[in-house]
Amino acid sequence: MAWAVMNWGLFKIIYRHTGEIGLDSGWHEHEFFIFLGTIWIINSLIQTLFMANAAEFSELIRTGNLDFALLKPIDTQFLISFPRINWSQLPNGILGGMLIAHSLRELMQEREIYFSVFSIPAFLFFIGCGAVVMYSVMICLASTSIWFGRNQNLYNFWFYITNFYRYPMEIYQRSGVGMALWGTFTFVVPILVVSNIPARILAQPLGTPWKSWEWGLAAYAIIGSLWSLMASRWVFKQALKSYRSASS
C-alpha cells in the first residue's frame, strides 16, 4: 500500500510540470490516475491470487514436491495456480478502485464523460482480460523453473515485464525503439492492450465516441487474452515433459 501511495505521489509531482503525458494523447492528470487505478486493480488481483502460488511452484520443483500435484486426478495447472490466496495484497486493488472513483468524479466536473449500462461491466470484463494475460505471463515465467531447476528471480522478471504495462501505450509511439516495445507488448505479449483498454473505457482520453482503432484494440484484447492463456498452457505442458523430480 505504501508503494501505491508513493507511486501516486510521484505522478502528482510529474503533473506539476506537465499537463499531459504525450502530445494530444488525452492523458491528463485525472485520466492518468484512472489508468493508474486500473493497473493497481489488475496487479492486486494477480498478487492476491497467483503471485505466491507461482513462487511456491518454483519451490515445489526445487524440492520435488510437484510429484504430488502430478499424481492428483485434476488439472495440474489449476492445482498449482490456486492453492493459496494472499489477502494482504487486496487493499491495493481497493485503493485502485477508490483512486478511479475520485479521479472520475473530478474528471466529470471538468468535461462530459459518456456512460452507458455497459461501461462498468465492460470495464470489469477487460480487467478480467488483463488478469488473464498477466496470469499467463506469470505461468510462463514460473514454468521456466522446470528447465532451470529453480527460479529465484521470478519477482524481478515480473517487475521488469510489468514495468512496460504501467503506462499509456501512446508514450511508446514516438521512436523506433518505442515502437518496437509497443509492438512487442501489444502483439507478442499483449500486456499493453489489457491495461490500456479498461482504462480507456472509463477515462476516455480521446473523448467519445471511440476511434475505430480503439474498437480494434478492444477486440484484440479479447483475442490476446485467449491467445495468451493458450500459449501459457502450451508452455506449461511442454515444461512438465521435462520435469525431472528432485531425488528423494
Binding site: 520435488g64 502430478l70 486426478p73 523430480s245 528423494s248
Partner: protein, 356 residues
C-alpha cells in the same frame, strides 16, 4: 449403410482383468547431469562451457506384476528403484520403453488412471504442513470425487487400523514422524487405489512404528487385494510383507524371485551355533575354520550349506553338545552380498562395453 463398427473400437486399450496389472517392457530413463567443478573460476567457465555426465537411472527393465501381488523392490541407493516408481506413477517421462498399469500408460496422466493408484514417499510430504491432516483428507476426497459416506467410512476404518483417530485435528507439523507417515498412508488410501507404490514408507521410524505400519499394510493388502510395489532398505519390511523380491542395481534388474530363492541362491553358508557341555570341547572346536564368535559355553561358526550334516555328525561323535541351532545368515547380509555381486557385474559390463 454407414459403417458404425469403427465407433465401437476404442482409441485406447481397455484394461482386461486377465492382463497383468503392471507390464513394463524395455523401460529406460537417462538423466543428463551437469558436472560442476569447484570454485568461482569454474563457475564462470560453466556459463560458457558445461560438462555433462549421463546417468542411466533405469536400463531396459522388463517386469510383469499380477493383480494382488506384493512385490519388493530392493537395491542399493541410486539403483533406480524410486525412478522406476516415478515412471510407473507418471511423474516423469521415460526415454524409451512402454509401461501399462491397469491398461493405462502412466505418463499420459489420464485422470482415470490417477484415480486408481497412489504413491507414498517416505521422504516427501503431501499433507498440508500447517493444517490438520483431516483437511488434507477432505481435499483428497474432493479431488478424487469420493462420495461423502464412503469417505467417512474409509477414513474411520483406516484411522482405527492405524490408531490415529485422536490425532486428526492436530496440525501436521506437530505430529511425530511415525504419526505423520500413518497420516500420509491414510491420505493415499482414501480413494481405495487398486495399485499402491510405496517408496521407503518406514524410513526413519522406530521399530514399534515400523512394525505397526508393516502390520497395517499386510492386513490392508489382504483385505483389499490390491497390487503393491514396495521399496525399503529394512529387511524386516520385506520379510514381513513380500513374497516376491525384485533386486535392481545400476538401473537393471538383477534378480526376480522369492525371498527363499535369494537366500538359497546367494547365500552359500549356514550359521551353526552350538552350546557345549564342557570347556575342553569348546577349546577343541574353537580351531574350526570360519569361526564367528565364542561366548562360552556357546560357539558360533559358518559352514558350507552342503557340509552342515557332515560337520555336525563329526562334532557330535567327538563332543558332548547340549544344544544346536542351524540358521540362514541374516537377510541383511545375504542382500548385501547380492548388491555387491550385482554392482560388480554392472562394473564388468560397463568396462567390457567401454573396451569394445
Amino acid at each position: 449403410m454407414p459403417d458404425f463398427s469403427r465407433l465401437l473400437v476404442p482409441d485406447k486399450p481397455i484394461y482386461n482383468p486377465k492382463m497383468p496389472t503392471i507390464e513394463i517392457k524395455n523401460l529406460s530413463k537417462t538423466y543428463r547431469v551437469y558436472q560442476k567443478q569447484e570454485g568461482l573460476i569454474a563457475s564462470i567457465r560453466g556459463l560458457f562451457h558445461r560438462e555433462y555426465r549421463e546417468v542411466h537411472a533405469v536400463k531396459d527393465i522388463n517386469l510383469t506384476v499380477e493383480e494382488g501381488e506384493f512385490v519388493a523392490f530392493l537395491g542399493p541407493n541410486g539403483a533406480g528403484k524410486t525412478t522406476t516408481l516415478k515412471l510407473l506413477s507418471g511423474v516423469i517421462n521415460p526415454d524409451q520403453g512402454s509401461v501399462q498399469v491397469l491398461g493405462h500408460t502412466p505418463w499420459e496422466r489420464e485422470n482415470e488412471y490417477r484415480r486408481k493408484f497412489a504413491l507414498v514417499m517416505g521422504q516427501k510430504n503431501q499433507l498440508w504442513w500447517d493444517l490438520p491432516a483431516m483437511e488434507s483428507f477432505r481435499l483428497n476426497q474432493h479431488i478424487y470425487c469420493v462420495p461423502k459416506d464412503e469417505f467417512e467410512r474409509t477414513r474411520d476404518e483406516l484411522c482405527e487400523m492405524l490408531n490415529v483417530t485422536n490425532l486428526l485435528g492436530r496440525p501436521v507439523r506437530e505430529l511425530s514422524l511415525g504419526e505423520r507417515m500413518k497420516m500420509e498412508l491414510i491420505a493415499a488410501l482414501i480413494h481405495k487405489p487398486d495399485v499402491l507404490f510405496l517408496d521407503e514408507p518406514t524410513i526413519g521410524l522406530d521399530v514399534v512404528a515400523q512394525h505397526k505400519i508393516q502390520e497395517f499394510l499386510k492386513a490392508y493388502q489382504q483385505e483389499q487385494n490390491n497390487t503393491i510395489l514396495l521399496t525399503s532398505h529394512y529387511m524386516k519390511d520385506i520379510e514381513a510383507l513380500c513374497k516376491r523380491v525384485v533386486i535392481i542395481a545400476n538401473g537393471s534388474i538383477y534378480h526376480d524371485g522369492s525371498l527363499e530363492d535369494i537366500v538359497d541362491q546367494f547365500s552359500g553358508d549356514k550359521i551353526v551355533t552350538l552350546q557345549l557341555h564342557d570347556d575342553r570341547s569348546l577349546e577343541a572346536i574353537s580351531k574350526i575354520p570360519n569361526l564367528i564368535e565364542i561366548d562360552a559355553p556357546k560357539i558360533k561358526f559358518r559352514v558350507d550349506r552342503d557340509g552342515v550334516g557332515r560337520v555336525l555328525s563329526q562334532i557330535l561323535a567327538e563332543h558332548a553338545v547340549d544344544d544346536i541351532v542351524v540358521e540362514d545368515p541374516p537377510l541383511e547380509e545375504v542382500i548385501s552380498n547380492v548388491f555387491s555381486q550385482a554392482e560388480e557385474k554392472s562394473r564388468r559390463e560397463a568396462t567390457h562395453s567401454n573396451s569394445r
